[in-house]
Amino acid sequence: MPVELRRAEPATGSLSDPSGSVQVRVETDGPWRTVVWNDPVNLMSYVVFVFRRHFGYSRLIAEQLMMQVHDEGRAVVSHGSRERVETDVQAMQSFGLRATLEKAGED
């Protein structure tokens, strides 16, 4: 994720989502959570795209989560029932992100 390609100009996109909807589905609590792990291949812009596309997160939230993955090595990107988290992990893997599920409270 770390791979940020040289940009001709500084990031053009604004940090706020024009749609304005803070759809923070960083979900209602549940006993399970989806974790995305850092890797040296996925482009930062791709990870942000995937978080926005799959979870419907605003650009700001998606960028914060991406940076957390990048800086801390992992980030919890959703919570919920086991079934729901399984769906999210499967979706993240379909995009090529390294994702695992874990029970909340275990570390």
């Binding site: 995009f95 090529g96 390294r98």
Partner: protein, 210 residues
């Protein structure tokens, strides 16, 4: 020479690629699909299994049932990366594979196939490659999966490893300016060049979508 993706007035996304670039992308997409199939034991023709499932022979039906249920653990390091364990708990990870790996593989293979079809339809020479939004999504995922395989072959494990690989390549070039290159080195130079092309193309598509 490739031209970046842009959004056209009709909403479609277009880039320009020359014949060699299309051929290279098609080749690495095909190799990625072949690798997934070989490593996970997926038949190239899913109809074979379907026919077996409909067979009159109960043994064939049983075989087909097992083949469908068996989610083989990946052995190749790149395929492991494409189909990672979904949990620390080996039982949970195996269960996840059993339930989801076949669908995951089907999706990845369909994306790769779709990209090959699009490039094929664009023709052999320098031409425009045009995508709708669904095709763009397939292209993003397929490019990413191919990059994951190439990164594995280049042994990229940590952030910044690609910069190191490229630096070593440049040093190697200077050292070897006089002499012939080893075959191995030529091979990895090509992988590096293809990885850069795919990264650039993926980034350009993401920007056009933004």
């Amino acid at each position: 020479m490739a031209h970046a993706f842009r959004r056209r007035p009709d909403g479609s996304l277009a880039c320009r690629l020359d014949g060699e670039e299309k051929a290279i992308i098609t080749q690495v997409a095909q190799e990625t699909a072949d690798l997934i199939r070989a490593d996970l034991g997926i038949d190239a023709d899913p109809d074979v299994l379907r026919h077996a499932a409909d067979s009159d022979d109960p043994l064939r039906r049983l075989e087909a049932e097992f083949a469908g249920r068996d989610a083989r653990e990946p052995a190749d390091s790149a395929v492991k990366r494409l189909f990672p364990a979904a949990s620390d708990d080996p039982n949970a990870a195996a269960e996840f594979r059993r339930l989801g790996q076949q669908d995951l593989a089907d999706g990845k293979l369909a994306d790769l196939q779709r990209v090959m079809k699009i490039l094929d339809a664009a023709g052999a020479g320098h031409s425009e490659v045009v995508l709708d939004d669904e095709e763009a999504l397939a292209m993003l995922r397929a490019l990413n999966d191919v990059r994951i395989v190439l990164a594995d072959r280049l042994d990229l494990q940590r952030d910044g490893d690609f910069d190191t690989v490229r630096m070593l390549q440049q040093i190697g070039e200077r050292v070897e300016e006089a002499g012939e290159k080893e075959d191995d080195q030529v091979g990895s130079d090509i992988v590096i060049a293809v990885y850069e092309l795919l990264s650039w193309l993926q980034e350009s598509l993401l920007r056009a979508l933004d």
